[in-house]
Amino acid sequence: MTKTTSPVDYGAYPDARGHFGEFGGRFVSETLISALDELQEMYQRLKNDPEFQAAFDYDLAHYVGRPSPLYLAERLTADAGGARIWLKREDLNHTGAHKVNNTVGQALLAKHSGKSRVIAETGAGQHGVATATVAARLGLKCAVYMGAEDVKRQSPNVYRMKLLGAEVIPVESGSKTLKDAMNEAMRDWVTNVDDTFYIIGTVAGPHPYPQLVRDFNSVIGREARRQSLEQFGQLPDALVACVGGGSNAIGLFHPFLADESVKMYGVEAGGDGIETGRHAAPLNKGIPGILHGNRTYLMEDEDGQIIETHSVSAGLDYPGVGPEHSWLKDIGRVDYVAINDDEALAAFRKLTRTEGIIPALESSHAVAYGLKLAASMRPDQNIVVNLSGRGDKDIFTVAAIDGIKV
């Protein structure tokens, strides 16, 4: 018998200081340390508190509309000609994406903290909308930082946030996209730390954010695991999810990590193609470094300056990635692949026409890889693709590519 290495205890990560192996941690200026300590202390206390969990579960059921279905995409499966493709329908959540799982959870934390104002960064606007939504519900003041470039390309979401009563602050510094919005939100937090709760939208940032955002999104994987057993009587053979910061992917993957038979694929944005350098795929073509409070794979130049990323999808247009993904890549538990803009657009159209579901451009990356993967697998095998969001926000982008004025 060959000797196997001892199984990884995935639940033991991050460690007490927020490290996933060499990744994660807390690389912020001193002013924020006490706020992070306070958040960590509160979260450790509440995450095992039955009352808090019950409140979270209640909101997920009655406000978000969970559980989200696990849907067998029969025509898509037939088109791919291989394994069965199941879609985890996060697009059916209130506000139209997985982001709300996390903002509902963090809003409960904000309420417990007694702070009267929440802030957020946003790329495509989905997290901004999900934050503005929970802020409206709880009567909290809300400011959302959004790169000036993204404000232009995601105008419907900007208007949605304003309708919900949030102040949308365009960020003109740096590359004017998600990373700069995050810098500016951090600066706001440093300044207003006494009365402000920062709702980070992805599994990045300083500890404990990667952990708590993961935990709140893990409802996706817990449901998918149960639904798989109920609907096809076994665990899926493979999971596929897109990775920008990586919150929908970690949410799907985490409850399956110990199931060794389940293969996992994180799909990064290949942009114009990895070989062109114009992409947003740090796990495919980046190097470990430090940004936004954690050590993780980054896209940077030879001097350690963060470089501009490129993707048709604003939500994946980020030069870093959650530290747990960096760790899962290095220990070989998850394969990180890339899908180019044109492949994602083709999948966007295919899912729309075969299933009557318009996916977000972010999620279209996962669909595109799911199609490729299915074709390489047997018809009795099962793939779960995380359909992390709906594509209504993207129809203007797609129309513009088609040369159509909507």
């Binding site: 002013t31 340390i33 510094s173 600066r187 440093v190 300044t191 001097d303």
Partner: protein, 270 residues
């Protein structure tokens, strides 16, 4: 115990013996033209600066307000790398063997260069220490050890939100001087609260004999004098970076920062 070999220690020992306050000045390396930076550094010294913090430009300067962000962006347009910053210190040392210089910046360029290569580079260039904004005490260990082994100083930030337990922990690691951030906010902010500075410096003083310098929100001689009353010095950055940014050429930049520093020096000494 203070080793007199390091220029930072020597400078603060001398200031204390003379009963004077230190003036720490910050500019961004390469801002206003890479070829002009060393000249600006000499001007800072000539006008009365005791210690120079040379800002290493970074694409994502999270702790900076708009003025210093712009300085970083101007410097990055000229591709000013960490290696170039070290070369500037070396060039500065050709004509100034006494004024302490530290590099102030963010962790990622250091990680990219290699932490040990960075420590070696500081020593070789004639720099005296480093201040890395996003390396708080819990993440600073490796760099701290490398600097210590080379008799270089590691400057830590303390803030109004730092607990007593952390002050104790950080001052155990800190060397050279301690940089007290006067307010909750980014560099260049305008809400300085002198009562809070007074109270917090007293709190910090209970834990350390290291020189205490106060920065963030210091705009002129009067505010420099006020914040350093209970400490050992004042740190000024945004007004200098703003002056460099607004100057039409190197000569004008020299004149403007010279006048600003001279005014603060006079205020501190009277």
């Amino acid at each position: 115990m203070v080793t007199e070999a390091n220029r930072i220690d020597r400078r603060f020992a001398r200031l204390r013996s003379e009963g004077r306050k230190g003036l720490v000045t910050y500019i961004v390396a390469g801002d206003g033209g890479l070829e002009n930076t060393v000249g600006l550094m000499h001007q800072l010294v000539a006008s009365g600066s005791d210690l120079i913090e040379l800002g290493v430009p970074f694409s994502d300067p999270m702790a900076e307000g708009p003025v210093i962000q712009k300085g970083h962006e101007r410097a990055l347009e000229q591709k000013v790398s960490l290696r170039k910053c070290l070369a500037l210190v070396k060039e500065f040392r050709e004509k100034d063997a006494e004024t302490p210089v530290i590099l102030m910046g963010y962790a990622n360029p250091i990680v990219r260069m290699g932490t040990e290569a960075f420590a070696d580079g500081l020593k070789e260039a004639g720099a005296d220490g480093a201040l890395t904004v996003d390396l708080p005490a819990e993440e600073a260990g490796p760099l701290n050890d490398l600097l210590k082994a080379r008799d270089l100083r590691n400057i830590f930030l303390l803030t109004p939100t730092t607990s007593d337990a952390r002050i104790a922990e950080i001052t155990r690691l800190a060397s050279g001087f301690v940089y007290y951030v006067s307010l909750k906010g980014v560099t260049g902010a305008g809400h300085l609260d002198l009562a809070s500075v007074h109270e917090n410096l007293a709190r910090i003083r209970r834990h350390t004999d290291l020189p205490l310098c106060v920065g963030f929100g210091i705009k002129d001689g009067a505010s420099a004098k006020a914040v350093s009353a209970d400490g050992d010095g004042a740190v000024v950055g945004s007004v200098l970076v703003s002056a460099v940014g607004e100057s039409a050429d190197a000569a004008a930049a020299k004149d403007r920062i010279g006048a600003l520093v001279a005014e603060m020096r006079t205020a501190l000494d009277t």
